[in-house]
Symmetry: C2
Subunit: 217 residues, 2 copies
């Protein structure tokens, strides 16, 4: 078991996928799994799986393997899925609407408590059961509901000023779909970027520079 601060981004990046496979195994009624069997299903080495798990403690038993249900719970706990962080969605455009209506936030460690847009035409509408408010209602809302995380689905030119405001209102975490570099300006913030255009260009590279058979991300 390592100090949590020492755990590399590579390991952390694999945790959701472990969790996903464990959920599937659990649903299928599988009681135990060895690192060897899991490695085959996931296309990883058994060594890597054991190393990864042992960053967080010894969840297995020699000669037996891992108990699926227990390991799944451990993963959920490590990922912080049990403890719901209040989050707001900024921007109710196409992408914002997709995110709000598609993601099962409560299964991923968040609860969506508010949706905001500058455009008043959205007023009164709801997404995933959450009403859309206008940006000018943001300060009062934050004072009351204390959201900690913001999902940034706004155009780049609005992002900088908006992040400034959100930081002032006490938010410190961002799921960032814009290309604004939050981390550069606020190194203290927790930021996970989703750069769809970067992802698509990576695919373009694969298609045009390979003779087939590449996987990214």
């Amino acid at each position: 078991m390592k100090d949590l601060k020492d755990i590399s981004a590579s390991v952390i990046g694999r945790l959701p996928r472990y969790y996903r496979f464990l959920c599937e195994l659990s649903q299928a009624g599988t009681v135990r799994i060895s690192s060897g069997e899991l490695s085959q299903r996931m296309g990883l080495t058994a060594s890597q799986i054991r190393q990864d798990f042992n960053c967080f403690g010894g969840f297995g038993q020699q000669g037996y393997g891992y108990n699926v249900e227990q390991l799944k719970k451990e993963m959920a706990s490590i990922l912080g899925l049990d403890d719901l962080t209040p989050a707001i969605l900024m921007g109710a455009g196409n992408l914002g609407r997709a995110v709000a209506s598609q993601m099962r936030f409560e299964e991923m460690g968040f609860s969506l408590v508010g949706i905001f847009d500058i455009d008043p035409t959205y007023r009164g509408m709801k997404l995933g059961g959450v009403p859309i408010l206008q940006n000018d209602a943001l300060p009062a809302f934050c004072l009351e509901k204390r959201p900690k995380m913001a999902i940034l689905c706004v155009p780049l030119d609005q992002a900088a000023a908006l992040v400034d405001e959100l930081i002032l209102l006490g938010l410190d975490s961002f799921w960032n779909f814009s290309h604004f570099d939050i981390h550069a300006k606020y190194p203290q913030a927790n930021v996970t970027n989703v750069h769809l255009s970067d992802s698509l260009m990576t695919l373009s590279y694969s298609i045009k520079n390979s003779n087939g058979g590449s996987r990214n991300a």
Copy 2:
């Protein structure tokens, strides 16, 4: 200049961001840039930037640096942005609609030639100027338009059969928003995955296991 096959995923993953910064520099009218200055703006080391660029050939000039316009064009060419790959969108739900209307495909090496959904209620609608067709029109469409890439915005339970069909219809590349593991079944295919829920769980981890200041992706 290395063999293109030897270029690591780490390097490829940084190319779109290089391209993005070069576009900004170009728009700002900057004529030349050194690896040192670019490294400061991007938060990378100058060494890494020079190493990355030199995977593809020597674009710079000693004592001068890099010509922004030339380097930008080289990047576009490496990423294959000049050559438009015909692509179809499978699934016109929230996410599919967001992707179709938001992404500037022509600037990223693709052209969106068709949109398909099993639900007939979408019939006659358009997204980003492209009409939505029903899935049963797919074989004839592919025979005529020869799309090469599919954007997969369908539920997991439909993905497996759909990928089988698309492969048979001659597609070999996927921008995959589902959790179906295309690469496991078709190792020859070009696949770039976008796993939004994995990304969100990574943020949950950061929030709950750090005292602030983490960046992912």
